[in-house]
Subunit: 401 residues, 2 copies
């Protein structure tokens, strides 16, 4: 649905929405012929599906496998083909770094270079995060004309570098060749503007200075940069929907996406129990709660069907505590499918349920990929989930007389 | 479907289409766990659904609750997000007033004003319609340069005022502040054009003159105007589809919308039996009959589940008489859902059936919200119902060689 139309129709209401995203929720049948969601014992989710409406979201389009960015943007109501978050920006927000409109971010890897300058290990033996943090520290005072930098460890050998200055361009090339036994690439402008040329030159100077400082190291004596991106411009979520919105996510990347659309971030802790405590603490202060649960995706990415079943069961066990908060509308969705048998994200539609007093109950009585085919909500674009959800919470006025 | 494409493909055929709209057809489960349509005894509709194709229309979009205007425009094949009927225009057509392209209409309320000019009751105690009619009469000869006016009672304190003249603009502000204890607003142009300035000035003069005439009254000594709109420009229905089209509706608003798209209006009488008699009388003169049945919506709006069941059963009983006319294609659709439990329009999809010799029968054997989930037609935008219907009547040629 068009965001301008939504702005016209949306209206404040006191109803509270608990919007749960089980990352990588959808899957393919495993050894038993059932998907992880079907095989998992999920009495609570089954009850919500049975009392409410069930269906399937198409995250981006038919056959399109989404990354986490587009998967979540769609769930938040943004057309993921119109709005994009660059990888550098996603990684930066993923470590709670607040990007400004003057920032250009890239994902970095510390790598091992041979004496001839060839990449011998793109990941520097997956250095400890703490070592990477110290290395980043040592790179943070490289002086550049009118440009400041932030260099921040992410995890293992991964880091983020942010260049801050006027008119930086993201239309420059990556230095990571994404293969070994070759040299790192030189950053070049990808268009003929002054901005791109100047930015590429700044990056080259920084990379050279960084390589000098790293040259004495045993492991991680080089670095590779990719995913150049500036802060994306996204219409403000809370303004579109006229409600106070909070994100409760253990993993920084999901806090990051939520923060880019303008949600407030509440401290989530480390476990789903911590998250639920935070929901309780913040319950009076917001109308919309985005609750992100990561572990179904992690297990799927690991190709571990059993762990995915377990992760989903774990979530299901927490459902009663969430319901005890008495949300008016509960949504359980996924940003994409992550079939364990593929050990990767996939394009398959994702089961979704909406529970609330105005949800039209269908004839399904369990939550799952195949039950959802017969559900009330049908197969629909994930970006339409927000208008559907908010309609159930009385937050959308009638269109036309 | 794109109207230009339809114009290219549509072709005359002698087949007759009976296009029934049961207003507010869809609902939510009531006390028995069934919806009104499911609970109603509808042997005739069930047979049509069983022999024909069934599915669900999405009136405007996911989560969007349509008013009657957009709900019907969509059923008539017009994208309700592209074509809008302003509130003033809808109200005017709703009392059988035929708007010309020189008309500017607004909805009015008689209101009570204090001696300081503050609104003490926006609805003047809901004056009797007859009193409002007399007041409107007394306002109808206010003289304005080159502009004529019509002032017509609608119901209780509501009326419509139509300004007729060259180049009137609807881009002017409302005088109704939509709250009490404040003064009525002054009509102002909302853009810098001569047309808007001139129109606002005409309206101000008229409002002042009207207030003078009303000033002696006990109740209804003021008026408030909103919903400025000109006659919408809608491509002609009969031209798009190359068929003679008639509207048979008891309620003026639905005659109004049909007339705005260019259908001819046949006198419908007051009951469904009157309507069927009219269909019989006019059967030879048209290929397309829009037959509007109001009472499912009225019962839903009243929150009366039992009355909605009854209204649907009433319609069902009339089906054999309609079938006796031997229409080639019968459609039974709704403009939106009106769940009795919500006592209001809603966003939920609406069951629809198409019956005719080329309809692909599905495995459903009763007409209802949940049966329709498994139907041939799936969940589809209401604006696509016309192309689907007319295809069944041989009125759409092949696209491409």
């Amino acid at each position: 649905m068009d965001i301008e139309l939504i702005k016209r129709l949306s209206q404040p209401s006191e109803q509270k929405v608990l919007f749960c995203v089980i990352d990588g929720l959808g899957g393919l049948p495993g050894p038993t012929g059932e998907t992880a969601l079907e095989a998992a014992a999920t009495p609570n989710l089954d009850r919500l599906a049975s009392e409410g409406s069930q269906g399937r979201t198409l995250p981006v389009g038919f056959g399109i496998t989404p990354g986490s960015g587009p998967g979540h943007l769609a769930l938040f109501g943004y057309d993921p083909l119109t709005y994009e978050i660059g990888r550098g920006a996603l990684e930066a927000t993923g470590i709670d770094f607040t990007l400004t409109t003057n920032d250009l971010a890239a994902r970095g890897n510390l790598c091992d270079l041979s004496s001839e300058g060839l990449i011998t290990d793109r990941r520097a033996g997956r250095l400890d995060t703490e070592i990477t943090a110290r290395v980043c520290e040592s790179l943070s005072d490289i002086a550049l004309d009118q440009i400041s930098t932030h260099v921040l460890a992410v995890r293992e050998q991964r880091f983020v570098v942010i260049f801050r200055g006027d008119e930086l361009s993201d239309d420059i090339s990556e230095t990571d060749p994404q293969q070994e036994n070759v040299a790192a690439l030189t950053c070049k402008p990808l268009n003929g503007t002054i901005q791109a040329e100047r930015t590429a030159s700044v990056v080259r100077r920084w990379v050279n200075a960084a390589h000098e400082r790293l040259s004495g190291r045993d492991r991680g004596n080089g670095l590779l940069l990719r995913g150049w991106s500036t802060r994306p411009t996204l219409p403000d979520f809370s303004e579109i929907w006229k409600m106070r919105s909070a994100a409760c996510a253990v993993y920084p990347m999901y806090r990051g996406v939520a923060s880019l659309v303008g949600m407030e971030i509440v401290d989530a802790g480390l476990t789903i129990n911590d998250q639920i405590k935070q929901l309780e603490n913040q319950w009076d202060d917001y109308e919309f709660f985005f609750m992100h649960y990561k572990y179904a995706d992690s297990a799927g990415e690991d190709g571990d069907f059993g762990a995915k079943v377990q992760a989903i069961e774990e979530f299901d066990k927490s459902v009663p505590e969430m319901l005890a908060l008495e949300p008016d509308v509960v949504v359980v969705a996924g940003d994409h499918s992550t079939p364990a048998v593929m050990a990767a994200h996939s394009w398959h539609p994702v089961p979704v349920l909406i529970h609330g007093k105005d949800a039209r109950s269908d004839l399904t009585d369990s939550f799952g990929e195949r039950a959802a085919i017969g559900g009330e909500l049908g197969l629909f674009p994930a970006k339409e989930l927000m208008p559907l959800t908010l309609a159930h919470a009385g937050k959308l006025a009638k269109y036309g007389a």
